[in-house]
Symmetry: C2
């Protein structure tokens, strides 16, 4: 059995019962080193295989091999295992390589949900997720999605908004959204949600400071109805109150 | 204190540690009767105030009043409290009425995440949420979002896809997406995720049977890369394997 486990954004409080049980039942834990560290409370007595960044295929292959040998393997992912996580890659590999492995996906709280809870209620109406990383997706596809999402007035959650190699992507995304956003459209940023260094703030479209955003951040841009009240970001659902 | 708690789709396993702790700490639990029933394990010794469907404003008002009186109140929502849940309405009311109430939003596993975990990994790439209920949103706004989402090749999660009063909305949504979908585009449906009557199936765009879908269902329509393999719905992230 190979359980691909979403551990949530990082705090123990935001893990599900199912995720904790799956970790406890596992013989071996595999994951990116930062994530294996976050769950060490439940894995101290187990074999833990850590791999570095950008070793996703290698990491999944190790987990599949061990599971095929009959081990109960837990692959840990931050957030939800099925959202920009390892569940998809594992299922792709198992399917393409015709491996004899039973895969179970264990849901977790993804960054947009955890961040929204800290910012207020910005996701109360239709919204979308767009990753600004062009490592695996051509940039023109990303641009097309940003424009469509702004035009149709979705609340937009930007994953992987900014890194050393992609410093200008978030500013470019804001430039593309400009025709459909006003200067006062609320924007919320959460850095390292649920972890020790957690930070959060709200600002507006025209006041956005891109330099404060990094790879651990999640950026939420409001729709036409989103407003700020006492530092909270609220998107009305449409109730007449 | 008023905690707005996302209890996940319904199974105990999918609740977070934080949600259970917040329920245990509460003096009074308020919620739609189906949801208060799902958490009775943690609330048996507490005062529970249940209200019926379409009583959202009344329900939130009761919770706010009690919290302002100094009670520790838990408002329970299915899925995530901040996604088509009560967190937004509570914050709107507290803000507009200048109520002296501290509100905490407790994240939960929303239907798209729970359903995706059962279907495979359909949400591995950029996706959006669209509610097909036009009770609070004008239908032309919903149509615009469906078209934009299909055109930009988002994976699309349809919330509130079909009810007695809105039997044709899902079929209409499929009609609107037709120019950008092929007959074989995978579609996944999960009914009553995490509950006793849970059902799930995958089909294709042209084979979709709308009559099997109800208000407890979540419908996920794949993007151009989504494929079916051994009954699972997989959207590749883009890794070359």
């Amino acid at each position: 059995m190979l359980s691909v486990i979403g551990i949530g954004p990082g705090s123990e409080a935001m893990m599900t019962q199912e995720a904790i049980a799956a970790l406890q039942e596992a013989d071996i834990v595999v994951g990116y080193k930062t994530y294996t560290h976050l769950v060490k409370k439940w894995t101290a007595d187990k074999e833990v295989i850590k791999t570095g960044m950008c070793k996703e295929i290698e990491r999944c292959q190790i987990a599949i091999d061990l599971a095929e040998q009959g081990k109960n393997v837990a692959m840990v992912c931050s957030g939800d295992a099925g959202i920009y996580g390892m569940a998809g890659l594992i299922l792709e590999l198992v399917s393409k390589q015709r491996r004899n492995v039973q895969v179970r996906v264990v849901s977790g709280i993804t960054a947009s949900i955890a961040s929204a809870a800290l910012l207020g209620a910005p996701l109360m109406h239709d919204f979308c997720h767009i990753s600004l990383s062009d490592l695996l997706t051509p940039w023109p596809v990303i641009e097309k999605r940003i424009i469509a999402a702004a035009q149709a007035d979705f609340v937009i959650c930007f994953y992987n908004p900014r890194s050393h190699g992609r410093e200008g992507h978030l500013a470019k995304a804001f430039e593309l959204m400009t025709p459909w956003k006003t200067d006062t459209t609320p924007v919320g940023v959460v850095k390292a949600a649920g972890r020790k260094k957690q930070e959060k703030w709200v600002t507006t479209f025209s006041q956005m400071d891109f330099s404060q955003v990094d790879m651990t951040s999640l950026v939420i841009v409001g729709n036409q109805s989103t407003y700020l009240s006492d530092g909270l970001m609220i998107t009305p659902r449409g109730y007449v109150i």
